[in-house]
């Protein structure tokens, strides 16, 4: 058991995260807070999934919010319009997110850097316009109203406390899977590709395959997040999944640290707390995250998740220069 934690070091962070969720569940005493806490859990998972694309595949996606939306609408339409069971809709959302994310990731085989950012931004914007315009399916700009509550084997999760528990269990299992994934053989291959595509392909690794795999996996997770979100508020509208939300998520990943689980979770926590604190003017937290992103980009490449790594590196250098 301990060996498992040693091999997959991010599991410790996931364990800590799940303990945090349990404690939060014990101390919160109000339905409203459980809704906020559920959003925090969903955001954590969402940001971690985007972090995989940015940190482990070295790609950028400004369509992550749109894929989240694809999951949300898939789940809403399947359960409410077609009467599908929740778990099936959750799987379908993951599948839809997976497929759309492959489309979003396809340009990454040819483009990089800001060209890729723009291409994904374009796809994201198209998806949001589709949410607005296909109103017979999505309810258009007014949103999708009256989504059925999540129901598993006849038990309906109307109570937000219970839904919080459900969201937490699903999110923690997916996070644990991701934590194992990044330190598996595949994760190591990804790191090799990120540091040098040419060297990695000379070892027989196929960069295109691995890049698309991360896009697909990340999309499947974002799709499931969308499904969880749709059954929380039971109302979704296109503006939630707009490009500014995608940009916000990239900001959170970079502020948290490109390839840091702890950083992503911390960024999600800061974001949720900020949003809670400035509820009259939600955009203030966007501003603060913009500011954070700006400062990180200019002064602290690596993000808050890597502060620990910056200082030891400096210490090491000091020691070495003293020794010589």
């Amino acid at each position: 058991m301990l060996g498992l934690f040693k091999k997959y070091k991010n599991l410790k962070i996931v364990l800590f995260f799940s303990l945090l969720l349990v404690f939060a569940g014990l101390f919160l005493n109000n339905e409203y807070y459980f809704a906020t806490a559920s959003i925090f859990v969903i955001n954590s998972l969402l940001i971690t999934s985007l972090m995989m694309v940015i940190g482990y595949a070295g790609q950028i996606s400004l369509a992550h919010g749109a894929i989240y939306g694809i999951g949300a609408y898939t789940s809403a339409i399947l359960t409410t319009k077609l009467g599908a069971p929740f778990l099936l809709a959750l799987l379908a959302s993951a599948l839809a997110g997976f497929l759309v994310s492959l489309i979003v990731g396809a340009p990454s085989l040819k483009l990089r850097g800001h060209y890729l950012a723009m291409a994904t931004l374009g796809v994201g914007e198209i998806i949001v316009i589709l949410f607005q315009e296909l109103d017979f399916l999505t309810g258009g700009v007014n949103g999708f109203v009256g989504i059925k509550p999540a129901e598993i084997f006849g038990y309906s999760f109307v109570n937000l406390t219970e839904y919080y528990a459900l969201v937490s269990v699903i999110a923690v299992s997916i996070l644990a899977f991701l934590a194992i994934f990044v330190d598996s053989k595949i994760g190591r291959a990804l790191r090799a590709i990120k540091s040098s595509e040419i060297a990695a392909s000379s070892l027989g690794l196929n960069p295109s395959f691995y890049k698309l795999m991360v896009f697909g996996l990340s999309g499947a997770v974002a799709g499931s997040c969308g499904s969880l979100y749709a059954h929380l508020d039971r109302f979704i509208s296109p503006s939630t999944f707009s490009v500014s939300f995608s940009v916000m998520m990239v900001a959170m990943v970079i502020v948290g640290g490109e390839s840091s689980f702890a950083g992503s979770l911390a960024a999600a926590l800061i974001f949720s707390l900020l949003n809670e604190y400035v509820r009259q003017f939600q955009e203030l937290s966007q501003f603060l995250f913009g500011l954070g992103l700006f400062l990180v980009a200019i002064y602290m490449k690596g993000g808050i998740g890597n502060i620990g790594k910056i200082f030891p590196a400096k210490l090491e250098r000091v020691k070495r220069s003293e020794a010589s």
Binding site: L111, A117, G122, I126, Q132, E133, E283, G290, I298, Y299
Partner: protein, 290 residues
């Protein structure tokens, strides 16, 4: 029928000129820094909103339209001097910084100018030129004229003027440019300032024709970028034509698809260019991919 068609072509060219002007800003910044300014669309909206507030303070229209881009440019120069020079050489972090900037600007726009779309009331409101039955507003004429002036100026600047040549040199052959006494940071700053000047100016020109809201910047920026990439990022002045082509396509497509899907057109064009010919369709230069 034929008249409607021509009217559509004209309104497409007008809108396209705006995209072109914004797109030129993208190409100029890319020429000197190798990066893309994601806040370009927000600069356009900020320029327009500043002008609206200035006319609201009883300043004459022309004064407002000139002052607002200049004020914005000064702001960008300061911003570049204090912060962005630190990352000017690292295109990726420069891009991230401009993404952050766009996020902050959008919030500020919302905070100061509110959620509702607003327009600039120009003295030409409602005045139109009637050429053989075709209606062309003065405001629309101004837009086309602005785009053409920008085109001619840039054509001259990049092919003849030493500063224009230096701007291209600092990103293509940085070491050699530095060895011959050019200061890259200066030219990068000038490019950034110039790009935002054009963006703000485009915003001031479009505000009398169509209303803008705090989040219009995203789509305006994307369409501007689509024009720039269509023309080829290495040919700043041609972005004007990229924009006009895009605008015309966009307004003609309305004949075939519901108007709600109009915005999708520019985005699909963008994706097609990016996947088929990222160096642009109007680019004559050598192939250069980031």
């Amino acid at each position: 029928m034929i008249e409607t068609l021509i009217q559509l072509l004209i309104s497409g060219a007008v809108l396209g000129s705006i995209y072109g002007l914004i797109g030129v800003g993208f190409s100029v910044v890319h020429t000197a820094t190798g990066a893309i300014n994601f806040a370009q669309g927000e600069f356009a909206v900020l320029g327009a909103f500043l002008a609206i507030s200035l006319t609201g303070a009883d300043l004459p229209h022309f004064f407002a339209v000139i002052i607002s881009p200049i004020v914005l440019t000064l702001f960008v120069v300061l911003l570049f001097r204090i912060f962005l020079t630190r990352v000017a050489d690292d295109a990726l972090y420069l891009v991230v910084a401009t993404i952050a900037l766009s996020l902050m600007l959008k919030t500020l726009l919302l905070y100061f100018w509110g959620r509702e779309p607003i327009g600039l009331s120009s003295p030409f409101q409602g005045k139109t030129l009637n050429i053989a039955g075709l209606m062309l507003g003065y405001d629309q004429l101004l837009i086309i004229a602005g785009a053409l002036i920008a085109y001619i100026f840039l054509l001259f600047f990049f092919s003849k003027h030493p500063a224009g040549k230096a701007m291209k040199a600092v990103v293509e052959e940085k070491e050699i440019a530095m060895a011959s006494g050019l200061n890259p940071a200066l030219y990068q700053g000038v490019a950034f300032a110039f790009g935002s000047l054009l963006g703000a100016f485009a915003g001031c020109l479009v505000a009398p024709v169509s209303m803008l809201s705090y989040n219009s910047g995203g789509l305006l920026g994307l369409k501007g970028f689509a024009s720039a990439i269509f023309a080829g990022l290495d040919r700043p002045e041609r972005a004007v034509f990229g924009g006009i082509i895009l605008g015309v396509i966009e307004s003609l497509v309305v004949l075939f698809v519901p108007s709600g899907f109009k915005d999708v057109v520019a985005l699909i064009v963008l994706l097609i260019v990016l996947t088929l010919k990222p160096e642009g369709f109007l680019s004559g230069g050598r192939k250069r991919l980031a």
